[in-house]
């Protein structure tokens, strides 16, 4: 089952690459470097989804004490941190030639950076506790606090950078993009989502085996 998922993810990634390089048009002003968007944007979407999964799995663990829920939260946090890191790295690579800088304290960059350190802290906490049951309990509480904090971080950072409340909460979304770019983005998003599922499935299995070996 996991293997099928892995192959599906690999195929979807290939298709995504094809869409990004062959089908989607070359951007007029930025040139080929703009194609990094097809990695950058899907990874941040997947990262947010991963942290929502951590939130839901944490609540499920606190409610039911099912170890499976804890393993899901743990795995999803790890993969979420990975994709957040990927977002920041690809963003920097994209930013250098287009903005002329690797990093700027723009609102969205800052939110993602805060998200990153928050969940690195989550993984640190997990690593510091040896008893599995307590690590699960504490991490679940932190998973809930961190997720509830995301909207607060989002608004505070937005107001901090722009000084004034923006006219609308909706960002200029993909609707302003040509449909071919939207399609390429969605294919890549599907590929990254499959990759996320594959990583999480692998990691959950590994955590289960680790637990069995330790017990």
């Amino acid at each position: 089952m996991t293997r099928v998922l892995g192959w599906l993810a690999a195929l979807a990634l290939l298709a995504g690459l094809g869409m990004a390089f062959a089908v989607a048009p070359r951007e007029a002003t930025q040139g080929t470097v703009q194609r990094i968007m097809y990695v950058h944007v899907p990874s941040v979407w997947v990262a947010y989804c991963a942290f929502v999964v951590v939130f839901v799995a944490s609540i499920a663990y606190l409610a039911t004490r099912a170890e499976a829920a804890d393993r899901l939260a743990h795995a999803s946090a790890e993969v979420g941190v990975l994709f957040t890191g990927l977002t920041i790295a690809t963003g920097s690579i994209w930013g250098k030639p287009t903005w002329g800088t690797w990093w700027t304290w723009d609102a969205r960059l800052t939110s993602v950076a805060v998200l990153f350190v928050m969940y690195v802290g989550y993984l640190l906490l997990r690593g510091m506790i040896d008893e599995g049951e307590r690590a699960a309990r504490y991490a679940a509480v932190l998973g809930v606090v961190a997720a509830l904090n995301i909207p607060l971080v989002h608004f505070s950072v937005l107001w901090w950078r722009t000084l004034h409340q923006p006219p609308s909460l909706m960002k200029p979304g993909p609707s302003s993009m040509p449909p071919v770019i939207v399609r390429a983005l969605l294919v890549n998003f599907a590929a990254f989502a499959l990759l996320y599922l594959y990583f999480v499935a692998k990691r959950v299995r590994l955590l289960r085996l680790e637990g069995e070996a330790g017990a």
């Binding site: 640190l124 509480v141 606090v145 904090n149 971080v153 505070s156 950072v157 901090w160």
Partner: protein, 225 residues
């Protein structure tokens, strides 16, 4: 009613111990003074630069003192082996959270008042006209800081490298509170009306409510063992 009395007995116990030993308060007062030295050395004698950095420095001082103070929330219980005694207290465990939170907020506000006084004297700034606005921002910010701090202190109390883990967990979560308080303090010190920073005060109040409710609901899970 019983809940309030249980919370009150925790507050009373903690503040009484603190009043008699003055352990945390003395150390934090001295630490605050040292912070002033550090800020002065870092910025030099330039008054303009100081005025521009004042809101940030003020909250840097509050947060650093807070990290030290809040991290010690459960030190008394751990060092004197009273952890079980605290947990064995009858009834809802969230009363312990409320009590610890109230004691922390009280202690923090005392230290913050002291830091404010030190700033006014040593940096020669007139804070008097902004005092009401400043007090409001300080209360909103301190409650937010302490609400998460108390929860995380319970979380890290029994963990190795707790002195390290506590700030590492608390600081990222406190980004909204830090941004809100610094921005609001900046406006207040410039003499702007509070209405101009209404959205920040709203955000801080919302953060306080979210943090306290989360703390009430999850504190139970941290104490069982």
């Amino acid at each position: 009613m019983i809940f309030a009395r249980r919370a009150w007995s925790v507050v009373w116990k903690d503040l009484l111990v603190e009043r008699r030993s003055k352990e945390t308060l003395n150390a934090l007062a001295f630490f605050s003074l040292l912070l002033l030295f550090v800020f002065q050395f870092a910025l030099g004698p330039d008054r303009e630069r100081l005025a521009a950095a004042l809101p940030g420095l003020l909250w840097l001082g509050f947060v650093l003192a807070g990290l030290l103070g809040l991290g010690r929330t459960f030190v008394l219980e751990r060092e004197n082996d009273c952890w079980e005694g605290l947990i064995l207290a009858p009834g809802d465990k969230s009363a312990i959270y409320v009590g610890k939170l109230a004691a922390n907020v009280t202690l923090m506000l005392v230290v913050e008042g002291l830091i404010l006084l030190l700033f006014a004297v040593f940096f020669n700034v007139d804070l008097a006209p902004a005092l009401t606005g400043l007090a409001l921002v300080m209360i909103l910010g301190t409650v937010g800081l302490a609400a998460v701090g108390t929860l995380f202190a319970a979380m890290t109390a029994q963990v190795r490298a707790r002195e390290l883990l506590f700030p590492v967990l608390l600081l990222p979560v406190q980004v909204p509170v830090l941004l809100g308080t610094v921005k609001a303090t900046e406006a207040v010190l410039l003499g702007e009306p509070l209405g101009a920073v209404g959205h920040w005060l709203g955000l801080l109040a919302a953060a306080d409510v979210i943090y306290i409710v989360t703390g009430l609901l999850t504190f139970d899970f941290l104490l069982e063992s």
